[in-house]
Amino acid sequence: MPFQVLSSPHDHPARPVNRLMLQVLLALIPAIAIITWFFGFGLLINLTLASATALLAEAAVLRLRRRPVRPALFDLSALVSAWLLAIAVPTILPWWMVVLGSLFAIVVVKQLYGGLGYNPFNPAMAGYLLLLISYPMEMTQRLSPSIPREHMPDLLQSLQISFLRVIPPGTTWDALTGATPLDELRTKLAMGLRVDQIHSGSFWGHLTGQPWEWVSLALFISGLWLIYRRVISWHIPLAFLGSLSALAFLFFLLDPQRYPVGFFHLVSGGTMLGAFFIATDPVTASTTPLGRLIYAAAIGVIVFAIRSWGGYPDAVAFAVVLMNMAVPMIDHYTQPRVTGHKRRLGP
């Protein structure tokens, strides 16, 4: 009887891409829950908008490119990009900006380069940067976690903010929004205040229940879980967080009046999201073990530099996309020595 002839190996353990992606999505859920708790329903609206846009856009482009649509949608990579974008942007962003960012991420950054695996830039971060550069005002306007809970917009009010730009009666935009710790630090340093003076303000907590810190903690634990599950490797988070804290600590020692301690950097802004969920995107990160360390350490350096001396309060997106550009070169010069060969530089 004739048999089916396939190339060896004749077994693949079921570890398909969509499983990996699914685990990333699951790992994001605790952080999503915490953000929703502290910052209202805006995030859920953003998630829905970004996801729907991403899936529709992916399907439409694949149809146009005459590629099979179903496998691409089911690999869940579009959803991961959408979720990361939605988590990164402010929860009170106008709906169309979320849609625009997601559309740009999927259509331009991902599909125009050839779809999953071919895109040189992280789609979520490229979408984020497009919005940040085009709409700096809206992109830095975040709901303040310190507004009293009874004034926190409910689902209906969140929808009104997102779609109609209507805020709940009896409040103002200024009352609703507030600075992030990084914004706060930047403005006050510019006003000539010292770090210890800023530090004494109401804003800072060190795991004293400050919302930012809870979110960071959730992302950190989820990230460890992803490493444990071997969805991501430890190289990138370690090198990113390591270089960022080391630099922060060094400058803190040099001038504690101008530079906050390293820990502040770890729990602020997009650090944890970047370290475990964004810089680790396999498609756009370096692929060699040494390369990953270099790539991620450089991201940490850029993040610190932009936060400390640059024009933007946070810099994870810039740092990641900048280093995405350097990946081909890093990969080229960090190839492992092939067994039985002498070491050499590059191929």
């Binding site: 089916q4 396939l6 190339s7 004749h10 077994d11 990579s77 073990p289 492992p336 039985g340």
Partner: protein
């Protein structure tokens, strides 16, 4: 990097190779019952080439009656192996028959119809006193017995046992790792024939003149075999022989990987163990050597693992070389319903068979028929997400995704820059790839196209040289013809003007003058031209030779031809991607 990994249970330091994978073992499927004795089928199909190298030359004619153990085909040259009749019977045909080959091609075979009488040929005398004999004499016996590597590679063993005076051998490595999941023939052999194995080791040491240690590398998932071997070793107490239990990690049974785990030594790319003073043999080979030397029995049967949940009766069986897979499986109760695949070898490196009407050869260690849901190999391939899991798993530290990338782009130079020819096709990369990309298939395709290209270039170069030689010959003939005419004319002219001061013959009677002066000059110019031409040709040759193929090992060289045949098929597979 070969960092010390840990210690073997006996306290010996072990090293580790990069990567590797842990597929589910499934050896218990076939180890429940002891090795079943060989059955005599209705026909035997004996390919003349059951080994790497040149096919053997048949010594029998159709219709001839042969005896069990009779030499029926003779090794043709150094890299070849004798073939003996596995049982008595009549030669019914000599001709093409399907064999286990990726392309499903036919190959020349001797067909033998057993008579069931098992009448034995006269066997050569046992060399029980091998230790007193000349190693060359023992080696000749091994060569006579047609022994090839039974671990699957089927390299004629006698060649490995005679590495030559410039490669002194100090260590013998016995490969008992058997790292492929499912396969248990070596395990069962060691349980049954541990004593024979120890005898075989003695013989191999003697033939090689090994004075140093002998290491038997075995994975820790074979406790019964380990116990049996320990007992046999204790009973026979061979000097410097150590059983080294190593952790179970595929592909520890790869020759280079095993040497690395046991000794920490890394073989150079394209290197062979003999270059670092080692020779590595599989346990089955060592037992076959003992049989040949101590009992005069040629290699006419081997143990084959029959396994997979698609078979009615899994187990290990002694199998006469040449038994058709179909006959063997039928004799053991056949297939379970729904079987669609039959693999010769293990799930990692085995070869899918087109049909079961192919004979089991000396190198066949396993027949694996998975039940429909047992081994998943057909999941559709997705895009590469550059996750590098393949690189993390590669025991050779290649970058499989780069190889894949450049193979897809048909950039064969780049593929070679990334050391394609160091790939051992172990399948670790494809095994871990979350996108289920059949990576190894791409590497085979790339290797084949490079070999074919090299072959074509070689042929083209050959044709060019022939053409140039012809051109030069024609020119020379033309030159000589003109020269003759000129000399004739000259002579005529001289006759006409005898008083001329020119052309006065010298003492030797040679014509002197201009001609005599220009002739050496001409010759010198011609010689210089020829030199330049030769240099240019040599350069051109260097330029057109693909890098790796310039230094192919003899084994690879021989695979070129086989590869060429496969290429058409591989190409069509590639097209249908």
């Amino acid at each position: 990097m070969s960092l010390p990994r840990d210690l073997s249970p006996s306290g010996r330091r072990l090293w580790r190779f990069h990567g590797g994978v842990h597929p589910p073992e499934e050896k218990a499927l076939s180890t429940a019952a002891p090795i079943a004795p060989a059955l005599i089928p209705d026909r035997l199909v004996l390919p003349l080439q059951q080994h790497i190298g040149a096919p053997a030359q048949p010594l029998v004619a159709v219709g001839e009656r042969v005896l069990k153990g009779q030499l029926i085909a003779q090794a043709d040259g150094a890299v070849s192996a004798n073939l003996h009749a596995p049982t008595s019977g009549q030669i019914s045909a000599i001709g093409e028959h399907p064999v286990a080959h990726p392309s499903g091609l036919n190959a020349p075979c001797i067909l033998l119809e057993p008579d069931g009488e098992e009448r034995r040929a006269e066997l050569p005398e046992p060399l029980a006193d091998f230790a007193q004999r000349d190693p060359g004499e023992v080696l000749a016996r091994i060569r006579w017995a047609g022994i090839v590597g039974l671990g699957g590679a089927a390299f004629p063993s006698a060649i490995k046992l005679a590495p030559g005076p410039d490669l002194p051998i100090h260590s013998l490595i016995i490969n008992a790792a058997e790292c492929e999941p499912y396969i248990s023939c070596d395990d069962m052999l060691m349980r049954r024939d541990a004593a024979k194995l120890v005898q075989g080791i003695h013989i191999l040491r003697h033939v090689l003149g090994v004075t140093g240690e002998c290491l038997i590398g075995i994975e820790d998932n074979k406790p019964e075999a380990i116990t049996a071997l320990q007992q046999a070793l204790a009973a026979h107490a061979p000097a410097h022989t150590e059983l080294v239990v190593i952790p179970t990690l595929y592909p520890s049974g790869g020759e280079k990987q095993l040497i690395q785990v046991l000794t920490g030594q890394e073989l150079a790319s394209k290197g062979i163990p003999a270059q670092i003073g080692m020779v590595c043999h599989n346990v089955g080979t060592a037992v076959a050597v003992a049989d040949a030397v101590l009992r005069g029995i040629p290699l006419i049967s081997r143990i084959v693992t029959l396994t997979g949940r698609g078979l009615a009766q899994a187990g290990n069986q002694e199998v006469l070389i040449g038994t058709l897979a179909a006959d063997l499986i039928a004799q053991r109760g056949g297939y379970r319903p729904g079987v669609t695949r039959l693999i010769q070898g293990g799930p990692m490196m085995g070869q899918a068979l087109h049909s079961d009407q192919v004979p089991l050869t000396k190198g066949a260690n396993c027949l694996l028929a998975p039940a429909p849901a047992e081994l998943d190999a057909s999941a559709p391939a997705g895009p590469c997400i550059r996750c590098s899991q393949c690189a993390d798993a590669c025991p050779v530290q290649l970058l499989p995704q780069q190889l894949y990338w450049h193979t897809r782009a048909k950039d064969m130079d780049k593929v070679q820059d990334y050391n394609l020819f160091d790939c051992i096709e172990c399948g670790c990369c494809a095994y871990v790839c979350p996108s289920h990309i059949p990576l190894v298939q791409y590497y085979r395709f790339a290797k084949n196209s490079i070999w074919t290209q090299a072959e074509e270039k070689r042929k083209a170069e050959h044709a060019r040289q022939r053409h140039e030689a012809r051109q030069q010959r024609l020119e020379r003939v033309e030159r000589e013809r003109k020269e003759k005419i000129r000399q004739k004319n000259e002579a005529l002219r001289r006759k006409d003007k005898p008083g001329s001061d020119q052309g006065k013959p010298d003492a030797a009677g040679n014509p002197s003058g201009n001609e005599a002066e220009t002739d050496p000059k001409k010759a010198a110019i011609a010689a210089a031209l020829a030199r330049a031409k030769a240099k240019k040709a040599a350069l051109a040759e260097q330029g057109v030779q693909p890098k790796n193929t310039a230094e192919l090992t003899p084994a690879q060289q021989r695979q070129v031809e086989a590869a060429e045949k496969r290429r058409a098929q591989a190409a069509s597979q590639q097209e249908s991607e």
